[in-house]
């Protein structure tokens, strides 16, 4: 069909607007309206021309449900809840999220942010446990530290130490931990579980390492004998004493883990 002919376009537009076209012909002309400005113009002209015929149709009030449907479909029903009601749910959700996040960070600062970043940001360590392992002369030999809920125990040798197996504390058997309380834990003693403590032992135990059966038979715990800066005694000192200097690599050895042993007070 030659759509360059104005008379043809005009006739098609007339029948389209008038309503006498079949469904298929209507679809074709609607595509033509989009593609051909002359077709669109012709249709507009016929719409204008025939509009007066529609004015003879008596008006009839539509039922209220029509507007309700329009309002719902165009978002008006939702917008009707503007004001404080509309803000209530998102505000409560946001507040809950803030509280939950603050709570989580209070309980476990390292849960969301790497502990190094926290240290950098605060300039201080977060709540931590710090333990000093001393020799019989009360000289600091090892520094052990971990965040309050940390899973890693850091062990740092402070001075060269001879094989300490022959040294004994005042109980004749155990070396002594001295606790330096963390910021919020003044008065509490170090309470690493044996599992955590042993977790720092070398993967390959040295020749001095006690057999695993012995380890398990002597669950580790660090027990306080007083308040802040008071000595804490380690119940399985032989293990820690002998192996801690070799634990600088910090590899774990599951054979030494004791999942049930927890710190207990002496």
């Amino acid at each position: 069909m030659n759509y360059d002919r104005a008379d043809l376009l005009d006739r098609l537009a007339a029948e389209y607007v008038f309503g006498s076209m079949t469904s298929r012909a209507r679809r074709r002309f609607e595509r033509l309206r989009v593609e051909l400005p002359a077709a669109e113009s012709a249709a507009r002209e016929w719409e204008r021309r025939l509009m007066p015929l529609s004015q003879s149709v008596p008006p009839e009030a539509p039922p209220p449900r029509v507007w309700q449907g329009i309002d719902r479909r165009t978002g008006g029903a939702r917008r009707a809840e503007t004001g404080w009601r509309a803000w209530l749910k998102p505000a409560l959700g946001f507040a809950f999220g803030v509280v939950a996040t603050i709570g989580l960070l209070q309980v476990d600062p390292g849960a969301l942010v790497p502990i190094d970043d926290i240290v950098q940001a605060r300039g201080t360590l977060p709540q931590s446990y710090v333990g000093l392992l001393t020799d019989a002369q009360n000289n600091a030999v090892l520094l052990l530290s971990s965040t309050r809920h940390g899973r890693t125990l850091s062990v740092k040798r402070l001075r060269p130490q001879d094989e300490p197996g022959h040294h004994e504390n005042e109980d004749g058997q155990y070396p002594v931990f001295h606790q330096i309380p963390g910021p919020a834990d003044a008065g509490h003693c170090v309470q690493f579980s044996a599992a955590r403590l042993l977790n720092c032992l070398p993967r390959r135990a040295g020749p001095q390492a006690p057999p695993p059966t012995r380890l398990h038979s002597r669950p580790g715990a660090i027990a306080p004998s007083g308040g802040a800066r008071t000595p804490c005694r380690i119940v399985c000192p032989v293990l820690a004493w002998r192996q801690a200097p070799k634990a600088f690599g910090g590899h774990a050895d599951e054979r030494f883990l004791d999942p049930v042993a927890e710190g207990r007070r002496a």
């Binding site: 007339a14 008038f18 079949t22 209507r26 021309r49 007066p52 004015q55 008006p59 479909r73």
Partner: protein, 188 residues
């Protein structure tokens, strides 16, 4: 009917998302548009659907309305008529109507006491003062035009309705439209 300037103002505000203007536009235009849809579809539920769809479309497309291209009621009526005609041509409605026709011969709609298409056509001619101009369009030809415009019947449906050959109906409608064009475009 609301005046053109007021409707144009409402449409421009609707284009900016003004819901009060949208409601005002609905209040002003919906009765006329519902009448048009009802006349074509002859079923209230269908006419309500068309009116709803048309106003949802107006809300979405108000920015595309050009006051220079058409008057507000012309634009709105075209939207409603096109949707009504599309629905009328739809297979679903066809099937529904055929079931009604074949099984019961009637619908659950109340009797239509509104003017018939030819009556509406005459009223329009009187209102537009073109009755004399349209005198050349005689009996069946005038009825063809009325049925096609007010009831949205296609050529074949008109032919069936007035029991005339489809070729004759096509010629009558084409000539009738040419005559209408001359009558409606002449200066008043």
């Amino acid at each position: 009917m609301a005046d053109v300037a007021h409707l144009q103002s409402l449409l421009s505000r609707v284009a900016l998302g003004d819901r009060k203007a949208f409601r005002a536009l609905y209040d002003a235009a919906a009765p006329s548009l519902f009448g048009v849809a009802l006349r074509i579809l002859k079923r209230r539920d269908r006419a309500e659907d068309v009116l709803q769809d048309a106003f949802v479309s107006v809300w979405q497309r108000a920015a595309s309305y050009s006051a220079a291209a058409s008057q507000p009621m012309t634009w709105l009526t075209a939207i409603v008529r096109n949707r009504a005609l599309d629905l009328l041509r739809g297979d679903t409605l066809r099937a529904t109507e055929s079931i009604h026709d074949e099984e019961t011969g009637e619908t659950n709609e109340p009797p239509d006491d509104r003017p018939d298409p030819l009556g509406l056509f005459e009223q329009a001619a009187d209102a537009l003062a073109i009755r004399g101009c349209l005198d050349e369009i005689k009996g069946p030809q005038r009825q063809c035009l009325a049925l096609a415009y007010y009831h949205g019947l296609s050529h074949s449906e008109v032919a069936e309705r007035i029991a005339s050959p489809i070729g004759s109906v096509k010629v009558w409608i084409r000539r009738g439209l040419e005559r209408l064009k001359r009558c409606l475009d002449r200066p008043t």
